[in-house]
Structure formats: structure tokens, C-alpha cells
Amino acid sequence: MTAPLTTTVTVIHPQGIHLRVGKNLAFVANRFDATTTARNLTLSSPPINLKSILEIMKLQARTGHVILLSAKGSDAEQAIAALRDVLECPS
């Protein structure tokens, strides 16, 4: 069984992962077949499903929090790169 791909990203948005960033994450995650999750390492929170905006809000991610992104599936590599782009692109 293949291990999931993971990467950590520090939240740089001044308002954290706010609603619009959350929306972008959800739409990007839904473009891929891979199962994609995120954990807020700063809050030691459990993993959430990135395909759900409601789950993303549960991250309560503020500026400076460290997020562990995880992706598993045939297009996991592309998914994790695209999700990282959303978090690293201020909007």
C-alpha cells in the first residue's frame, strides 16, 4: 500500500484560512481523485477532508499556523502541489 504524500505549509494569509481561501482549497481538492486531508499541527487538530468547506473551517487556521497537507491516490502529486499553491498564493 502506497504511503500518502505529505508536505507542511505555514499559513501566510493575514486572516488565516478565511472563507475565500477555504473555498479555493475545496474547489481545488475536488478537481482531483486523490483523497486529500489537512491537519493543523499548531493546534494538534485531527485530519480534515479538504473536499469539504465545512471541514476546512474546522481547521481554525490562523496566520503562522503550520498545516500538514496529505494526499493519497493516482494524482496525489498534482493534488498536493495545487493545494500548496492555494495556501502560498496570498488572496
Binding site: K23, F27, I53, L54, K58
Partner: protein, 136 residues
């Protein structure tokens, strides 16, 4: 793709939630907003009107389904009455959500935009009732 109908006692609330919901879509979702009752002087007073809700359902009709997100009290009754005014084949794909209006509309707009089914969109919207907004 399903449509959404937002119902509030207050026209400004309905219009504001509409603005927020549209912001959450990626592909266009048909969303109607109904709030208040015409006061006869060009403005609106607080209240809900079943006929206006029915008109909004018809104007935003989609046979995939119509999810109604409402605030409280007579908004629920008026939404139920509005659905009863519709032909039976339309009634069967209209659903009043138990989700709170604002949060439900945000979630539902995104989920509808992802072309999820009526039941799936409603399930996602209603799940917001269990969301803690702050950690204590």
C-alpha cells in the same frame, strides 16, 4: 445542477446572504433571494410571503432539485405553503433545509457549484449545525 432559494423575514438579510452565497460558487448556481413583504410604498417590511417564495422557485427552477434555506418561524411556514402551490412533480424535488440560513447558504452554494445532488448538498449544509466556531 440544483438551485437554491434563500428566505428571510428581512429583505436586506436575504439579499446579503445571496451576495455571500454567490461569492462561494465557482460555476454559476441559480440562487433566488426572498425577504420581507412589500409595504405598498416601494419598500419592504419584515415578514415572509408564500407567493413570492413560489415565484422565486419557479424563476430559479431546476429539475435536479431546489433547496430552500430559511430563517425562522413563518419563513418555514411560508416556504411550506409556497411548495404546496407548485404542481406535484415540482414539489417532489423541493426540499426545505434544517441548516441555519447564513452558514447553510455558504456551504450549499459551494456544494451546488460542485454539481452535487440535492440530498448531498442538503446533508453538507445541515452538517454545519455541529460546527464549533471557536475552540474552548
Amino acid at each position: 445542477m440544483i438551485s437554491l432559494i434563500l428566505v428571510s423575514h428581512c429583505r436586506d438579510i436575504a439579499q446579503g446572504v445571496l451576495q455571500l452565497a454567490v461569492e462561494m460558487t465557482q460555476t454559476p448556481v441559480s440562487i433566488g433571494a426572498v425577504g420581507g413583504i412589500p409595504d405598498g410604498e416601494g419598500g419592504y417590511r419584515i415578514g415572509t410571503d408564500a407567493l413570492s417564495i413560489r415565484d422565486a422557485i419557479e424563476a430559479n427552477w431546476n429539475s435536479d432539485g431546489v433547496l430552500l434555506l430559511v430563517d425562522l418561524g413563518s419563513a418555514v411556514l411560508s416556504a411550506e405553503t409556497a411548495i404546496e402551490f407548485l404542481p406535484e412533480e415540482m414539489q417532489s424535488v423541493c426540499l426545505i433545509s434544517n441548516a441555519p440560513l447564513v452558514e447553510g447558504a455558504v456551504i450549499a452554494a459551494l456544494e451546488a457549484s460542485l454539481q452535487h445532488s440535492l440530498q448531498d448538498v442538503n446533508r453538507a449544509a445541515e452538517a454545519v449545525r455541529c460546527l464549533d466556531k471557536v475552540t474552548r
